[in-house]
Amino acid sequence: MQRIGRFEQTKPARLPDGPVLALASLLGREPSFMLKFVAKRLVSLIPTLLGVVTLVFFMIALTPGDPARIMLGERANAEQLAQLRAELGLDQPLVKQYGLYLSRVVRGDLGNSIISQQKITDELSERLPATIELALMATLFASILGIVLGVAAARKRNSWVDYTTMTGALVGVSMPVFWLALVLIMVFSIFLDLLPTGGRIDVRIYFKPITNFYLLDGLILMLKGEGTEVFVSALKHIILPTIALGTIPLAIIARTTRSSMLEVLKQDYVKTARAAGVKERKVVYRYALRNALLPVVTVIGIQFGLLLSGAILTETIFSWPGIGKWIYHAIGARDFPAVQGGILFISIFFVLINLTVDLLYSVINPRIRLK
């Protein structure tokens, strides 16, 4: 089976060595292959991001509806509307608007939210830690459990372990997130009264966030000897959203791991390892899994990206103050700059995650460490 290196597909034809050399001089040594690769990939992000900005701009600009009308309401007169349009630059030709938008984005300015009048970049960075925290937890939950279940199912193929896991995965992947979230709240919060229904932390706890990642903040406070209250509360609040958000990725990862593992366990080198007297556990978890993880890593990366952007429903149901919930409200209020900014932000994340996955790939798979 010939695997095409992902590097080959994504590697740009020829890129200037400028950034590479700059990086090298910064580190004071000959650039390694990895470094060159990262530098080149970072440069190649520029056209990708330009495309994203363009797409996002025109998608929103071509959506029917007049932002000025929405902001001022039905009773605004023509003069007021014209004035606001001029303020927002909406009276300019579309191409010119695009140019203005682009030049602002390049300088890191996404504009102000129509509703709150706050800078969108501030609003986003304020909410980003909540979203990342939840997405990370959900990805961890889905990856660890998914890989363990997938390997177990592959090893005991056609046994009850396999059937149970795969039936569970099918149910998991078909379950609507909002429904699962509501069921979880009903069972664990209302009937059993074990976990809170929403929010990031108990409102009665007052603490000054350090990193804005509450779990991390809780750990820091614990290490400082200021009690476990914050950590425990943050953990309790994140459990249900993690499960709700992580179930579909869990199912996908379990299925991918299973099929990839089944493929790998058939390979000759697994037979070689067995014939060399290597313990079965080691054959599975060291020799086979490392190979089987290649496609799984890709799936995990994609899922993580989707979780960052796709947490809208989960965040809304659990009143999780992250980007998803914010975008949900921005859409409801026709806050176009906010929607634009939010989507752009998420897209950049997605692209960066893809880069990380590619790098991880070359760590696991030596065949694509191409010169």
Binding site: Q267, D268, Y269, T272, A276, G277, P366, R367
Partner: protein
């Protein structure tokens, strides 16, 4: 019932081995009543067409027959006097890779693509001894040198995809030798995937190593040329049964079973084909293992077949010292011989 020289206890002695596969279509009797022995320091070639039970036999020796669907129904496999079929999985595992090692047909796919050659060889050492990581790696480099891989220290750091097919097979052999005391090496078609010049080199290497390390080799092949070059003794299998067993010169000079003779006839280099315009072939094809009863499995293709052949599998006959065959109408009696 074994055919070995009684004065010396064989290294491996397979007695009356039966391996079955339970498939959806029915019971496949892949190996039937097999007796086979390998003496210390001997190279035994196990020869036959694809699907005749050669590889299954090899896997049965290492107990790597997948069960289910496989099933070692009866028989015993004595290795230095111990019946391998009675060992626990843990005891069997300590033998695999140390006293009984295996190399496979496809050096391309038999090495793990995500670990360096050196790591993989060192891993085998570490499995069977309490060597440290560094020491095991140094041993691996020594072995790579032993199998004549140039710049072994550098090559040990290479991944399989950075090596040529021949080099990979050498690395596989090194891995099979990664043990304090190699006893038996099972080489399952070790040269089939290699081109001819590399084949010769690998066979040469195997012969040299056998002398140097003092091990025995079970060579599984369908290539009579390889047999002639490497083996001391040959066992010919057909559809799960052994049909002839003889020292290599004896078999080449005086084959008794029509199938063995047919195999030799297919070989461009065989003496009977000298000056021939056309190579001979064996008419017909291997029967479906599902449909074979107690008859001689070769009877549907055999030019000499009679009702006797279709009634039952023949008893053992001897054509000379250490030369046994199982045929009602051997070549020397029927007069069909070249």
């Amino acid at each position: 019932m074994s055919d070995n020289n009684p004065t010396q206890a064989p290294l491996l002695d397979i007695q009356d081995l039966q391996v079955n596969f339970h498939t959806r279509r029915g019971l496949v009797r892949a190996v039937r009543n097999l007796n086979l022995s390998i003496n210390e320091g001997e190279t035994l070639a196990l020869v036959g067409e694809s699907g005749c039970g050669k590889s299954v036999t090899a896997h049965a020796i290492t107990r790597l027959v997948p069960m289910p669907p496989g099933d070692i129904a009866s028989g015993s496999i004595l290795f230095r006097g111990d019946n391998l079929l009675d060992l626990s999985e843990r005891e069997m595992r300590t033998l695999r890779g140390s006293k009984i090692s295996m190399i496979f047909q496809e050096p391309m796919t038999s090495l793990n693509p995500v670990f360096t050659i050196g790591t993989q060889i060192a891993e085998v050492f570490r499995t069977h001894t309490n060597m440290g990581k560094k020491e095991a790696f140094e041993k691996a480099v020594e072995l790579l040198d032993l199998v004549k891989i140039p710049a072994p220290a550098k090559r040990a750091q290479s991944y399989p995809h950075q090596l040529s097919g021949g080099m990979r097979q050498r690395a596989m052999i090194a891995m099979a030798l990664a043990s304090p005391e190699p006893g038996l090496m099972i080489a399952d078609e070790p040269t089939t995937a290699l081109d001819v010049t590399i084949q010769a080199q690998i066979l040469q290497l195997l012969s040299e190593l056998k002398e140097r390390v003092g091990m025995s080799i079970l060579l599984i092949t369908h290539d009579m040329g390889v047999v002639a070059e490497t083996a001391d003794r040959v066992a010919v299998m057909y559809a799960g049964r052994k049909v002839e067993d003889a020292p290599v010169e004896e078999l080449f000079a005086n084959p008794q079973h029509p199938y063995a003779a047919g195999l030799l006839g297919c070989q461009p280099s065989s003496p009977q084909n000298k000056g021939a315009h056309r190579l001979e072939s064996i008419d017909g094809s291997v029967p479906d293992l599902l449909s074979i009863g107690e008859e001689c499995p070769f009877s549907n293709r055999c030019p000499n077949a009679s009702d006797r052949c279709r009634a039952g599998f023949p008893e053992k006959s001897e054509a000379g010292p250490n030369h046994a065959y199982w045929c009602h109408h051997p070549i020397s009696n029927s007069g069909v011989a070249s």
